[in-house]
Subunit: 356 residues, 2 copies
């Protein structure tokens, strides 16, 4: 632990949503302090952070002061403006590093990079105009999904194309944003691997979780996932390979499709990931602490799982079920402190321990 | 959950040490905010609380403003001045209620109350002067311990008497403070039960833990404790009986001596307790969340244990072992964010999961 941050250290976190909130709690457990930077007032992470800066990602002075006040900077989301990263990078280490952000901020770059690493992704094509979309549809076929290359999440910025005749209309919906066409992958199930790489280069993975989405939003993650021993090993090795190729420090989420032809990489997220929330109640060291350990230069936990868990997101009105959930045995409730309920808004999650 | 506090609610906590810190984290997990009141600057709980008031317990204006800003008040220690309680009680509910504080703040009142409930304690006598101490020593015998009736913790304010001839010297060491003489109990082991009672009167207990002390400070707690099924049931029923008799709301720690003649109550603590820290890694809902659930009017967790755990306190220089501890498998580290190491100071603890 030569380079490890000690009890006086402060970890800066870009983004004060629920991921930043749970990262702050994990840091506190290790005796470390956090300073959250977020453009919005009263961000969820602010309740449990030692300090909060409320400022825009365009506010260079605020970014500089933030960077000067912390020992290392990490983040809870990948769409941080490049200009903001430029300001802070000269003042403070950023972990995970910028290469992971550069790649994961752009779907086209990400898929190109992944296939360059010898991994399989959905078929994809760069879309620059309506003509290139029509050509790509001929090659990839339908159904396919047209997505903005940047700034999409939870199914936003996506149009499904079932017929080549919808091409012009779909392209218009991108409103001029650079786009990518992705073919559908016929998969048996979707799993994700939460992998971590330490400052010392050591790698540790959590057991793959099996994900169920609805309307583009994760609903449940179940561990163990229904995978053969060989698939499980493949999934973990693949995630470790990505982390090493990125010279990564921190926790990385890798979403995979399980197909008859093998594992297909859906996407990677250079941060703690919703599909890793089950680790809070299934592992001695959860993904949030694992991430803090990595960026703070501590040894990683080994990722061992001590319980079967089903994680369920509480989205929008799902929180109305709280009185019932609070009475259920073996059910851990995690709320994000968001007062206002909105449709599609992640309000919290529950982890259910499944006893054999 | 009719009376349950929702996501806009704030829980006030008197005392910002490590117990207040871990209570704040538990409250955040349930989407609730905390406001910590502590006389010292930068209390450990301040890192994870939404608000902090730094003021003396004699500052009536600060106490009143604090009480007006929160929805319910709880505390992490029992020695809160009565005058402070008087100020806040008219403004905000205090949970657990004042009866538990009145009894547990004074060893003589506590032991008298416990024996009145039909429970067994160590033999004891009220000591008002040197003559009453000499008389009590004749009755109780030696070795015995002379203790201040109030404000003792971790072995402070105590003098061991091995010979009746030490009586005058021992009494002088009390410096005029009201005192109690306690006889020694010959016990096989010491256990504690962490019990909770909800606002609705429901009671839930965690599995008894077995404690090892050194120099008056808790070193380790191990679950399961070495108890027969009958002893385990007795211990839990006894703790529940105390909670009910106090019309208690919150988590209560009950320390017991296991003797050949049955269970002897050592002391009760009207708060979360060091010997319940193992629940953080052994239960879905730990003692901190259980306490928050109780004082916030939520349903209690059922206290079920999913793992065997050994909790070890990190006291003073023990934190120098951190680099080694951080590398150990199945070892959860909990640090309190105290920068300065002092001999005898509780710096953190570890929970080790024991796999069968």
């Amino acid at each position: 632990m030569t380079d490890a941050l000690g009890p006086d250290a402060v970890i800066g976190i870009l983004g004060g949503g629920q991921l930043g909130r749970m990262l702050s709690v994990a840091a506190a457990r290790l005796g470390l302090r956090t300073h959250v930077f977020d453009p919005g007032a009263n961000p969820p992470a602010g309740d449990v952070a030692h300090a909060v800066t409320t400022a825009s990602y365009n506010d260079d002075a605020a970014l500089a002061a933030f960077a000067d006040s912390v020992d290392v900077i990490t983040y809870e989301f990948e769409n941080i403006p490049t200009s903001a990263l430029d300001v802070i990078e000269s003042r403070c280490p950023i972990r995970p590093g910028r290469e992971a952000l550069r790649i994961s901020q752009d779907r086209l770059i990400e898929k190109t990079w992944l296939t360059g690493l010898g991994l399989t992704t959905a078929p994809f094509a760069d879309i620059t105009d309506a003509a290139s979309l029509r050509a790509a549809l001929t090659q990839i076929g339908t159904p396919a999904i047209l997505k903005t290359r940047r700034f999409g999440y939870d199914g936003k910025g996506q149009v499904r194309i079932d017929d080549a005749g919808q091409a012009d209309d779909a392209f218009a919906q991108m409103a001029g944003a650079p786009a990518i066409l992705e073919g559908f992958v016929s998969f048996d199930r979707e799993v994700s691997v939460i992998v971590a790489r330490g400052l010392d280069g050591s790698v540790a993975a959590f057991d793959p979780g099996e994900n169920v989405h609805a309307q583009g939003i994760l609903r449940t993650t179940t561990v163990p996932a229904r995978l053969s021993a060989a698939q499980r090993t493949d999934a973990v090795l693949l995630a470790g390979r990505i982390a090493r190729a990125l010279d990564y420090v921190g926790v990385l989420g890798v979403e995979l499709f399980v197909t008859a032809q093998g594992l297909v990489v859906n996407e990677i997220a250079p941060r703690v990931h919703n599909s890793g929330h089950w680790t809070q109640n299934g592992c001695v060291i959860d993904q949030f602490e694992q991430h803090i350990r990595a960026v703070a230069g501590w040894p990683l936990g080994d990722g061992r799982r001590h319980a079967d868990v089903v994680m369920e997101n509480l989205i929008g009105d799902d929180v109305a079920r709280l009185p019932d959930l609070a009475r259920q045995s073996d059910t851990a409730i995690h709320l994000y402190g968001k007062a206002e309920v909105k449709a599609g808004r992640k309000m919290g999650h529950v982890n259910r321990i499944i006893r054999s």
